[in-house]
């Protein structure tokens, strides 16, 4: 039997790698991919909690996280397309129209 702790370490690792990617990349697509990694990290912990707690709620929440991730992907990518159409860049640093 694998200890619950190991699953949590794994989930924390995936989550923080996502945070790292989000903080250090400036390409919107990569920042978005990093967010997906964070969500997967969360899901690993939710499903393992659910298993060890013998309670379905974690899996239900994980299911909703996947649903929302799909909706987020649709909207996020639509936003990326709308930026690219006007500006031809996917770099957040080059988005400087709004600066005080």
């Amino acid at each position: 039997m694998v200890e619950l702790q190991w699953y949590l370490y794994l989930s924390a690792a995936v989550f923080t790698i996502g945070v790292f990617g989000f903080l250090t990349r400036r390409n919107i697509i990569f920042m978005f991919i990093s967010i997906e990694l964070m969500l997967n990290g969360v899901n690993i912990s939710l499903v393992s909690f659910s298993h060890y707690l013998q309670d379905p709620r974690g899996q239900i929440l994980a299911f909703f996280v996947i649903t929302v991730a799909a909706a987020e992907a649709a909207i996020g990518l639509a936003i990326i397309i709308s930026v690219f159409r006007n500006k031809e860049t996917v770099y957040v640093d080059e988005m400087t129209e709004t600066k005080g």
């Binding site: 949590l8 989550f15 996502g18 989000f22 919107i28 920042m31 978005f32 967010i35 964070m38 969500l39 990290g41 969360v42 912990s45 939710l46 909690f49 707690l53 309670d55 709620r57 974690g58 239900i60 929440l61 909703f64 996280v65 929302v68 909706a71 987020e72 909207i75 996020g76 936003i79 990326i80 709308s82 930026v83 159409r85 006007n86 500006k87 957040v92 988005m95 129209e97 709004t98 600066k99 005080g100």
Partner: protein, 477 residues
């Protein structure tokens, strides 16, 4: 067989969903989009009426229509109505007069209403996402303007990041307590003496950071100025009030119910947060030249003041926070209504210098702007003063006198940039002819917000009573 739970308490939400869908469909047949705006306002008014008549808990505690959520729903619906009224002409000028705009606004408000009523963290999460996703789209609604696109990108990335942090917090909390029910969490924490557990502290920190992003508290405010400046002005008005108030609603419920036994710990995190928020908001606002950006920093600062109500951690503090947010809805949307008036074909009217000498040609608008600026500063007899007064009183009674002193100093600093607008309007000569774009809807919105600011300012007692009663009705049921 499972018995179906009563639908009474969720009636306002069901109505709202129905109206939003109806407007989405009607968009196909109605060519005059002003009609849709009118229908949306009517829908919001009906829902408001329904909200006043509902109470109770349903779906096994997952959805709570108590006084607390009722008060917040009124704030959301009010800000929805005012934002729709100021949008009508504006989105035509920006050439984005599409019907989806209104139904997205209704869906966003629905998300806020669900957040305010959520008795379960899963419902809370989905409410946040419903609100946020609609608002991302609205922020990027002017598809042909790079500014608006960029606002949507920044809002989206930071919002999604914050949601992921929130989810990890929820996940830890679920693992620790075996439940996602907010009251269940509270009961388990206090029964099992979990208060000092590092994993629980980690979860609290993640919640603070995630909500910090949602309410634009420093140091998690970086997105706010860019997004507020780039988004359509009417949406800026909408999201500086609605989603922020929704964030506070969820925050109040999670921190004061689920984390009730950890009050000392989270107050220790929130106090520096509130101070930094007030400092950043008020000090950086001074150097701004774009009025939308300036109001973005001002909105950050106001989140800092409202946060003090949560920090106080008493029913009085919450009541203060609630009335503060209601007052903020009036004064902030009022100020944005004036900004929208200055926007005309080929002229953005977003520079602070555009306000020079406004009183000469447009005395009424200048006077209204004066009222809103006084109120945002917190000068009596406007409502802004009352709002601050209640929050500060609650904080003093909870023993945070020094924090109130700090807040008062920062609010004195805020007079610099609010009064600068007033000075420009009244003491400078107009540099150029500014044409105002008016419409009956905009006039109505201005009348409502100015009346709100003045009436609450002069007769404040009723509002606080209302907020106090709201808190006692079913709080913690």
């Amino acid at each position: 067989m499972v018995e179906f739970p009563p639908l009474g308490p969720v009636m306002p939400e069901i109505l709202m969903t129905g109206f939003a869908l109806l407007i989405l469909v009607l968009d196909l047949v109605i060519k005059r989009k002003e009609t849709l705006a009118f229908l949306s306002v009517a829908a919001a008014a009906v829902v408001m009426y329904a909200v006043l008549g509902t109470s109770g808990v349903t779906f096994s505690g997952m959805f709570a229509a108590d006084g607390y959520s009722m008060f917040f729903k009124l704030i959301f619906l009010l800000s929805l109505i005012l934002s729709i009224l100021i949008s009508v002409k504006y989105i035509a000028i920006e050439r984005v007069n599409y019907g989806e705009y209104y139904s997205l606004m209704l869906f966003s408000t629905l998300g806020m209403m669900i957040m305010a009523s959520a008795g379960d963290l899963i419902v809370l999460y989905l409410g946040i996402e419903l609100m946020a996703l609609s608002t991302y789209v609205l922020a990027g609604f002017i598809r042909h303007a790079v500014k608006s696109n960029e606002a949507a990108v920044k809002y989206f990335l930071l919002g999604a990041f914050a949601s992921a942090l929130l989810l990890y917090g929820i996940s830890l909390l679920y693992g620790l307590t075996g439940t996602t029910d907010i009251k269940g969490v509270a009961a388990y924490i206090s029964d099992n003496g979990l208060a000092g557990n590092p994993a629980l502290m980690l979860s609290v920190i993640l919640f603070v950071v995630a909500f910090g992003f949602k309410i634009a508290a420093a140091p998690f405010h970086m997105w706010a100025p860019d997004v507020y400046e780039g988004a359509p002005t009417s949406i800026t008005a909408f999201m500086s009030v609605g989603p922020k108030a929704a964030g506070f609603a969820a925050m109040g419920r999670v921190f004061l119910i689920a984390f009730a036994s950890l009050q000392v710990q989270w107050a220790a995190i929130l106090i520096p947060l509130a101070i930094v928020t007030m400092a950043v908001g008020n000090i950086i606002a001074i150097s701004q030249t774009n009025i939308k950006r300036m109001l973005a920093y001002s909105s950050i600062a106001h989140a800092g003041y409202a946060l003090m109500g949560v920090i106080a951690g008493t029913p009085e503090g919450l009541a203060g926070m609630m009335s503060y947010l209601l007052i903020y809805a009036f004064m902030n949307i009022g100020a944005f209504a004036i900004i929208i008036m200055l926007r005309s074909e080929g002229f953005s009217g977003e520079n602070i210098s555009d306000y020079e000498g406004l009183s000469k040609k447009h005395p009424v608008s200048a006077a209204l702007m004066l009222i809103f600026m006084f109120s945002l500063t917190g000068i009596p007899p406007t409502a802004g003063f009352i709002g601050k007064f209640y929050v500060f009183m609650a904080a003093v009674n909870a023993g945070y006198t020094w924090l109130v002193v700090v807040a008062v100093i920062f609010s004195a600093i805020s007079a610099f940039f609010y009064m600068r607008i007033v000075m420009y309007m009244y003491m400078k000569e107009p540099r150029r002819e500014v044409e105002l774009t008016t419409s009956p809807a905009l006039g109505l919105a201005l009348a409502i917000s100015a009346l709100g600011v003045l009436v609450i300012g002069v007769f404040p007692g009723r509002l606080l009573d209302l907020a106090r009663i709201a808190i006692t009705l079913g709080w913690g049921l």
